[in-house]
């Protein structure tokens, strides 16, 4: 009689067999010494928010993770002012026709010990340009690259491209050794040029990096980096609070007050949250109602009430992270209509919940619009479920968050895609001759200063249409344990761990 009763218990004996089902710990996540490696310097423990989606393919968003971890580099990089500065290329200039650029390489070695040659760089860029689908930084661009000398690379585009050096700062155009291209995929482990070498990866949950002793910029302070990908914001903040990681990126606003104030480091980003009004169908085709909506919005309530001060009330499309914008900005142009009385006009306001603050923002906006006399119905979905309906004009209005500098770091690119008739991501479905003309003029400008001025003129025209009502410019909070220094806080979210980061 006893035997059958024990059978379920016997099944539990199988449990130890499953012990292989734990994740191999990156370093020792609970130890405090971090396993000092050879040559001094403790290992850093970093929690990133976005797990690699494409197994570290350098042609997608995973390139940003690799760039944030100091594994990959391109020919150029963006500095805090949004201009291209030297990385693997020491200097560059455009040849006469504006279609060809010559980049002079610095002396550097790949992680596999081979030298960074012009041929290797040209091959690497050519492969990126031929990738299917192509990297976002190259959408609409045909790029070719060839060695023009031992340390000289010629990069050419079909049409003159004044922002090519900015474009090449994109992490998905990073440079890899020929050995990266031997298998059926591009393998960034041990083939890039940054201060850290990607050594082991554990699916999309963890990765381990070692210091690269041959880095051209000098050996990194930290002996290595143990990376954990924690997509849940609360879990990321908790890992920092319990001391399981030294650095946690993108701590959600809701979790910031729970952190030790010493660990909170904020920086302005080029990301905005805005209210977009559908100018092609529905009630907001009426400019007077758009003006009424603009009058109804109180951006301070969003900045303080929802973002708890980790955002600034919006001034325009380009926020304080782009330091040049505020000095150039004038009043919005082309406003003709006076605000009309909404009289209970009904509208659907859409937003997505991938960013936790957006549904709250949408509810605040809803209340403000209703006080002004609109009748508002909310529609909240996941972003992937929302986008195609959004771009098809299914909603009257939408609260979206958008990085104005995502792919190229060029202020004009986002204008062309976001606010022109031909724009590929134009949530307001705006098609305004004045905006199109000013954007076209801005695209032709070559000098950075002239380009910025032209972009600001186009911004004024966009704001004049009331197609987008900017709500707030966002800050991002990086959690850094006391004692950890040299973490790079980058408004473009491309850098985090660098050669100078240590603890």
């Amino acid at each position: 009689m006893r035997i059958p009763r024990l059978r379920p218990a016997a099944a539990l004996l199988l449990v130890p067999l499953l012990a292989g089902c734990f994740v191999a710990a990156p370093g020792d996540p609970y130890g405090d010494d971090g396993g000092a490696g050879s040559g001094g310097g403790a290992r850093l423990r970093v929690a990133l928010a976005f797990p690699p989606a494409e197994n570290y393919s350098p042609y997608g968003m995973d390139a940003y993770d690799l760039s944030r971890l100091g594994v990959v580099e391109g020919l150029t990089r963006l500095d805090a002012n949004g201009t291209a500065v030297a990385a693997l290329a020491e200097s560059w200039y455009a040849e006469g026709n504006g279609r060809d650029w010559l980049f002079a390489l610095r002396e550097a070695t790949f992680h596999d010990g081979t030298e960074v040659t012009a041929a290797a760089v040209a091959d690497s860029l050519t492969r990126a340009a031929l990738a299917e689908p192509p990297p976002g930084a190259l959408s609409g661009i045909r790029l070719t690259a060839e060695a023009a000398g031992d340390r000289l690379v010629r990069v050419s585009t079909e049409e003159p491209d004044p922002v090519l050096p900015l474009r090449l700062s994109n992490p998905s155009l990073a440079v890899f050794a020929p050995s990266a291209f031997t298998g059926d995929r591009v393998n960034p482990a041990g083939t890039a040029t940054g201060p850290f070498v990607l050594t082991t990866t554990t699916g999309d949950t963890a990765a381990s990096l070692d210091r690269f002793d041959g880095y051209w910029g000098g050996r990194a302070h930290a002996s290595g980096v143990d990376v954990r990908y924690i997509s849940d914001g609360t879990a990321r903040a908790n890992a920092l609070r319990t001391g399981e990681v030294d650095v946690a990126e993108a701590v959600p606003v809701a979790q910031v007050p729970a952190l030790d104030p010493d660990t909170v480091h904020e920086i302005n980003t080029a990301r905005n949250t805005s209210l977009y009004l559908n100018t092609s169908t529905g009630l907001f085709t009426d400019a007077a109602l758009r003006a009424a909506a603009r009058e109804a919005i109180d951006t301070a309530a969003v900045a303080d009430g929802v973002y708890e001060g980790y955002a600034e009330p919006a001034q325009g499309l380009y926020g304080p992270a782009l330091s040049w914008a505020a000095g150039l900005r004038g009043a919005p142009t082309g406003r003709t209509a006076d605000p009309a009385e909404p009289d209970g006009a009904a509208l659907t306001l859409a937003t997505y919940n991938d960013r936790p603050e957006l549904p709250e923002t949408a509810q605040v906006v809803q209340q403000q619009l209703e006080r002004a006399g609109f009748t508002v119905r909310l529609e909240v979905r996941g972003y992937a479920q929302l986008e195609s309906d959004l771009l098809a004009g299914a909603f009257d209005a939408a609260v979206l968050s958008r990085n104005m500098m995502l792919e190229t770091g060029d202020p004009v690119t986002v204008l062309a895609s976001g606010y022109t008739c031909e724009g590929s991501f134009n949530p307001a479905l705006l098609c305004d001759p004045a905006v199109d003309a000013l954007t076209e003029a801005a695209r032709a400008e070559a000098g950075p200063a002239q380009r910025q001025q032209a972009a600001i003129r186009a911004e004024a025209a966009v704001l004049g249409t009331d197609a987008e009502i900017p709500l707030v410019h966002l800050k991002v909070v990086t959690g850094i344990r006391p004692g950890v220094t040299g973490v790079v806080l980058d408004p473009y979210e491309r850098e985090l761990v660098g050669a100078g980061t240590r603890r």
Binding site: G20, C21, N238, V380, G382
Partner: protein, 626 residues
């Protein structure tokens, strides 16, 4: 020891059709998932692109490239055929999103989830043991004619009503972060298992314990108990035999629970950062990454089949011979001698008071200046993240939440009972449906029925019937093997009569109580579908929505989460205690149809000195005609 090779009471010749049916269901499921993008009319190239890079602009050229890369233009049937062909060669394909091989990824996630489930199972069994400890203790020491009470009904029902994510969030915040006793996130060793296992196991164990405690008094009321007591068997032995008798009816539900937890622990996996199968299939479903989703679901369905086989073996080992020989006694409780209306009345009054106090308040008026204020006279339950009155939201949400949840529960109960009547048909169906994680299931159903206002209710009801049908099926199996049914049949009772007058009255009450126990869970599932764009939308004060929108603030403003969770728990306690109090004289009571047979059989059994039916099958077999 019995030599039966026929556990579960299903003759061997009927196994063939059952296997066929299971195979057909599996094939239908795999095909349905293969057709998912075409059913839901969502371009997989778009969802895959968005899974790779959320903010990547989906221009036609990029989508074309993705479509070519995945071969989507070949159409669903060719894709499915190719995938099945590869599977036959042992190649499960590559993920559409990441391009990595699917099999190792799913295998590792399955291992993690199984381990997590094992931990949760230990906690759940301990919880269940704690809950039914008292009825077991009292039942084993009962004097003849006494009544074994359920005991602690409200408390365990309240625990069963608590959402997993709330327990998880509280455990992380208090034990993991504040006290620092156990690691708060990750999955690196046994220490990391404790908190997630508790979060998953406590509510599930409460459900199981509640069901077990519900069945125990019936077991103690069987005629072998006085006989055994008369022979001087110690209470411990009695308790063991009674437990064995009651557990048999619950094992199928335990199987469902095990499989459901393996694939459905998404919230807990997120909060504790565990790379399990729930998160994997959720991401794959949203991205329409079909190779991952198909293999993930296939693994879960295989697990479900394995669990079902083990359950059959278990039931066979526990009461198999008695089942086969029709030597069981009806597993009802004796008619209630005393109805306890005190507890449900109390719970109901508190609930009504909360609603009455909150209804005059405005649930939508937001004032971000009052964000997350603690309870005060002005806001007795505090305010939420947008400065809205929590009391008002809870009260106003009660009406919509309860309305839909009750409707869905009723539908699930009806479907569950009807399908439970044909267990051979519904058993594999319930196990297969239960194995599919919630989000893919909801996406499939949305694809089929479209996105109407009733879609979330249909999607939840489509899954909610499974535990009820399983419960009804296993009770029915035992009931059909009961002596009094044989006797009724011998006296010429037709099938309809048997069903109406004997079987249904016996099965309905415990299944109804089970349905009520799961009512709060249904309210939560309804809200969980909101992020797919179906179901309740903000700013509606629907309870599930109120809970999920305040989850990020559980540490800073616990009242905003605890208040709706408390009313949900209150609802659970009310439902279960009320059902317990309303228990009528079930067939065991005088005047009920089965009673005559029961009395005669009791006399006969006493005369023959029949030993406990399930526990001494050899004896029982000797006494019964072959």
């Amino acid at each position: 020891m019995s030599t039966t090779r026929n556990p579960g009471g299903i003759p061997a010749r009927r196994r063939g059709p059952a296997l066929l049916w299971r195979g057909a269901l599996l094939a239908a499921l795999v095909c349905a998932i293969g057709l998912l993008p075409w059913l839901s009319r969502t371009d997989p190239a778009l969802t895959v692109l968005k899974a790779r890079a959320l903010e990547r602009t989906a221009d036609p050229e990029t989508l074309r490239a993705v479509r070519d890369e995945l071969g989507l233009d070949d159409g669903p049937l060719v894709l499915l055929g190719r995938w099945l062909g590869g599977l036959a060669r042992g190649d499960a394909g590559r993920s559409w999103v990441s391009g990595t091989e699917v099999a190792p990824v799913v295998g590792h996630a399955l291992g993690v989830s199984l381990l997590l489930m094992a931990g949760a199972l230990v906690v759940a069994l301990a919880t269940a043991a704690a809950i039914c400890g008292r009825p077991l203790w009292r039942g084993a020491r009962l004097r003849p004619g006494g009544r074994a009470g359920g005991g602690g009904r409200g408390g365990s029902a309240a625990l069963a009503a608590l959402p997993e994510f709330l327990i998880a969030s509280l455990l992380v915040a208090v034990v993991g972060v504040r006290l620092g006793w156990l690691p708060a996130s990750g999955w690196y060793g046994p220490a990391w298992m404790v908190l997630p296992s508790l979060a998953l196991g406590l509510p599930a164990g409460a459900v199981l314990g509640r069901l077990l405690a519900d069945a125990l008094p019936g077991a103690f009321a069987e005629q072998w108990v006085p006989a055994a007591r008369g022979r001087g068997l110690p209470p411990g032995t009695l308790a063991r035999h009674a437990l064995r008798r009651a557990v048999a009816g619950l094992l199928p539900n335990l199987g469902l629970f095990v499989v459901g937890l393996t694939g459905g622990a998404v919230a807990v996996e997120q909060i504790f950062d565990i790379p399990g199968l729930g998160r994997l299939t959720l991401r794959a479903a949203l991205a329409q990454d079909l190779p991952v989703l198909q293999l993930g679901v296939l693994a879960l369905v295989a697990l479900a089949a394995l669990a079902a086989a083990l359950v059959r073996l278990g039931v066979g080992a526990l009461i198999g011979p008695a089942l086969r020989d029709g030597a069981l006694q009806a597993a009802h409780r004796p008619g209630g001698t005393r109805r306890r209306w005190g507890a449900p009345l109390g719970y109901g009054l508190v609930l009504a008071a909360v609603v009455a106090l909150g209804l005059p308040r405005d649930p939508l008026a937001l004032d971000t200046g009052l964000r997350l204020t603690a309870p005060s006279w002005a806001h007795p339950l505090g305010t939420d993240a947008l400065g809205r009155d929590v009391l008002a939201r809870v009260a106003h949400g009660a009406l919509t939440t309860l309305g839909t949840a009750v409707a869905v529960s009723a539908a699930a109960l009806l479907v569950g009972l009807l399908l439970g009547l044909v267990p051979r048909l519904s058993g594999p169906l319930a196990e297969t449906v239960n194995a599919v994680p919630a989000v893919p299931a909801a996406l499939l159903i949305t694809g089929v029925v479209g996105g109407g206002p009733w879609t979330p209710a249909v999607a939840v009801a489509a899954v909610a019937w499974t535990p009820l049908a399983t419960h009804a099926g296993s009770l029915l199996l035992q009931e059909r093997a009961a002596l009094h049914v044989t006797a009724s049949r011998a006296l010429g009772a037709g099938r309809g009569h048997l069903l109406r007058r004997v079987l249904l009255p016996a099965v309905l009450p415990p299944v109804l109580r089970h349905a009520l126990l799961r009512l709060p869970g249904i309210a939560l599932s309804l809200a969980a579908l909101g992020f797919l764009g179906i179901g309740a939308q903000p700013p509606s004060p629907e309870w599930g929505l109120v809970l999920s929108e305040n989850q990020p603030y559980v540490e800073r403003a616990p009242w905003a989460v605890l208040a709706p969770a408390a009313v949900l728990a209150l609802l659970g306690a009310l439902a279960v205690t009320a059902a317990g109090a309303a228990r009528r004289g079930e067939p065991g009571a005088a005047g009920a149809p089965g009673a005559r047979w029961r009395r005669r059989r009791a006399v006969r059994a006493a005369a023959a000195g029949t030993a406990p039916s399930g526990t001494a099958p050899d004896t029982a077999r000797e006494r019964m005609p072959q």
